[in-house]
């Protein structure tokens, strides 16, 4: 989870990603940030994010991203 927060902070400064909710829905990060985010997450956690995971709810908070990563690692 800490690693996810670190990656998010490298994308956008000045946002408390520990508590932030709706980061995609509320346009805190946009589709261009998501492109960089995916690349960083795949490198950091050695997972492959498929299109079935490309939904707002999977990227809407640090916790949601962490849950998605855990699911991908379990597969």
């Amino acid at each position: 989870m800490e690693k996810v927060i670190k990656i998010l902070e490298s994308l956008k400064s000045g946002v408390d990603f520990k508590t932030a909710e709706g980061i995609v829905t509320n346009k805190i990060i946009d589709s261009i940030d998501i492109a960089s985010l995916i690349s960083s997450l795949e490198d950091e956690f050695d997972v492959e994010i498929g299109m079935e995971y490309m939904e707002n709810e999977n990227f809407d908070s640090a916790e949601a991203i962490w849950e998605m990563i855990q699911e991908l690692q379990d597969e």
Partner: protein, 529 residues
């Protein structure tokens, strides 16, 4: 049958009666029959087989993909499978699903490309043939472009991809699916609705709700006002300027400004009319515009303008591009060889470029739309890649970013970027675009705005005053809509005031609207796509 014609109002009234006289559980069939009738009258009977083919192919393939996943789930439940065996099984069924997906995509996108690009390709083939052998042997008269093909193809392809990506299950009933494809309010010009939203809306119990019907009619009135009073009035001026001889630069500047408002009021007016019409039947269509001229950046602008198309390209082109194997390899290479900044730039530039060039080609097939796509991909890439520099520059210049003046400047800057994009496509060719720019810089002639020249393009002084008042009303209502629901606010008012507003709107449309022969307004600009 244009949706601004008296025929459409009559059609809507007839469908309304039939719809609410029918038992609730059969109402969707009335909508289906009404949509088929509308498509036949608005288009032609020869267009229908294309729609049946595209929706049929997608429905069959999506059903097979869905069944493929169901079979996989059954097999995975079987005991005694280790992780490797499960992975192999998943891959085996995934391949099968991928084959079905490719088949449907080739057939549907192929048909769309043939109808849209053949004329363009034939023109160039003939030019080449004429240069080589002195004659033009190819013909494109046989090509027909079925009404709404870009819109319904994108809608059903979105559904197919969602089923393939397991976002939801397939639709087992073809007629239900066909209604989603042909539903009359969105078939001609969108919004490009998602099956997860419109499909579900059409499945719910469509009951009579007087409040919702009133809201629908009010939204339609607002749409008619935008289209007939503002867009078609602006069209007279803009068309006269661009279709005529070379004009003074100042006239072109006014035409560029008017064109920006024209396309907005034309397309958003259309969307309001069809969303209102759909609300009358209890079906909510997606929002397609969210006051784009209040946007402060170009990416924000495209999140507010033609939202259903932007969302479609984001979900079905941009993201697949972003996570493609090619991009992953490119990103790895960039991370190993370039700086952090450089690798971030690499992750953005290719998907943005592909998405915008394809968005351009969706709008039109000529060089102008290709340039339009490159123009927007460049703007968006620059704004993403140089964001730290822009922020540093703002700090260096000690700009107070929270002030109204700064926000206004950003809105005007975005509006100018939009006008720049329109300048590439509206004059009709890149040659004409060059002519407009040349005249602005070399033949500005500012006094043409005061010596009466401006009145030679279809709009006299009272008409221009009426236009100014109408745009002021548009701006005031848009400002209110940014803050609250205007229709709900109107509902809370006394009945006398409410009806004064409604009658004012009706009579404004009837008196000030621009009508052609047979009370049929000019065609919608986005209908051509």
């Amino acid at each position: 049958m244009s949706i601004t014609s008296a025929y459409f109002v009559f059609f809507l009234f007839l469908l309304f009666l039939l719809f609410y006289l029918c038992p609730v559980r059969h109402r969707w069939l009335v909508l289906l029959a009404g949509s088929v009738c509308f498509y036949l009258v608005a288009g032609a009977i020869r267009f229908l087989p294309f729609l049946v083919f595209t929706s049929g192919v997608v429905w069959i393939c999506a059903r097979q993909i869905g069944r493929c996943y169901e079979a996989l789930d059954e097999k995975l439940k079987a005991e005694g499978l280790d992780r490797t065996a499960k992975k192999a099984l998943r891959e085996q069924y995934r391949k099968k699903a991928r084959r079905l997906l490719c088949l449907a995509l080739i057939l549907c996108i192929g048909l769309l490309c043939v109808t849209k690009f053949t004329k363009y390709a034939v023109r160039y083939l003939n030019l080449a043939a004429a240069a080589l052998c002195g004659r033009a042997p190819f013909h494109a008269e046989w090509v027909i472009v079925p009404l709404g093909i870009s819109y319904y193809t994108f809608s059903v392809v979105g559904y197919l991809l969602d089923v393939y990506w397991k976002r939801y299950s397939y639709e087992p009933d073809f007629l239900r699916f066909f209604l989603y494809a042909i539903y009359f309010p969105h078939i001609v010009q969108g919004p490009i609705s998602r099956y997860s939203l419109l499909g579900q809306e059409l499945k719910k119990e469509l009951r009579f709700d007087s409040r919702r019907i009133a809201f629908g009619m009010e939204l339609m009135l607002w749409g008619f006002f935008k289209k007939l009073v503002i867009a078609d009035r602006l069209n007279q001026f803009v068309s006269a300027v661009y279709n005529g001889q070379s004009q003074a630069g100042s006239i072109y500047i006014v035409a560029i400004l008017f064109d920006a408002f024209q396309i907005y009021t034309d397309f958003s007016g259309y969307t309001d009319i069809v969303r209102g019409a759909s609300q009358i039947f209890g079906v909510e269509l997606e929002q397609n515009f969210n006051h784009p001229f209040f946007s402060k950046t170009v990416p924000e602008y495209w999140r507010r303008w033609h939202m259903s198309l932007g969302g479609w390209f984001k979900d079905y082109v941009y993201y697949p591009c972003t996570i493609s194997h090619f991009m992953k390899r490119l990103n790895k290479w960039a991370k190993n060889t370039l700086s952090e900044r450089g690798s971030r730039f690499t992750a953005v530039v290719f998907p943005v470029f592909v998405t915008w060039v394809l968005t351009g080609l969706w709008h039109g097939t000529g060089k102008t739309y290709l340039c339009w796509g490159i123009y927007y991909s460049t703007l968006i890439t620059i704004s993403a890649a140089f964001q730290p520099e822009f922020e540093a520059l703002t700090k260096l210049l000690r700009i107070r970013t929270e002030t109204f003046s700064w926000q206004l400047f950003r809105m005007l800057r975005t509006f100018c970027c939009f006008m720049g994009g329109r300048l590439l496509t509206r004059p009709g060719s890149l040659f004409n675009t060059r002519r407009v720019i040349w005249n602005i810089f070399h033949n500005l002639c500012p006094w043409c705005l005061t010596d009466g020249t401006i009145f030679q393009f279809g709009l006299d002084w009272p008409q221009l005053c009426l236009l100014a008042v109408s745009i002021l009303v548009l701006w005031a209502v848009s400002m209110m809509q940014e803050r609250f629901s205007v229709r709900e606010a109107l509902e809370r008012q006394n009945i006398v005031f409410r009806w004064i507003i409604i009658f004012t709107a009706i009579f404004s449309i009837l008196i000030f609207g621009i009508y052609g022969q047979g009370y049929d307004a000019s065609a919608f600009m986005y209908e051509a796509f």
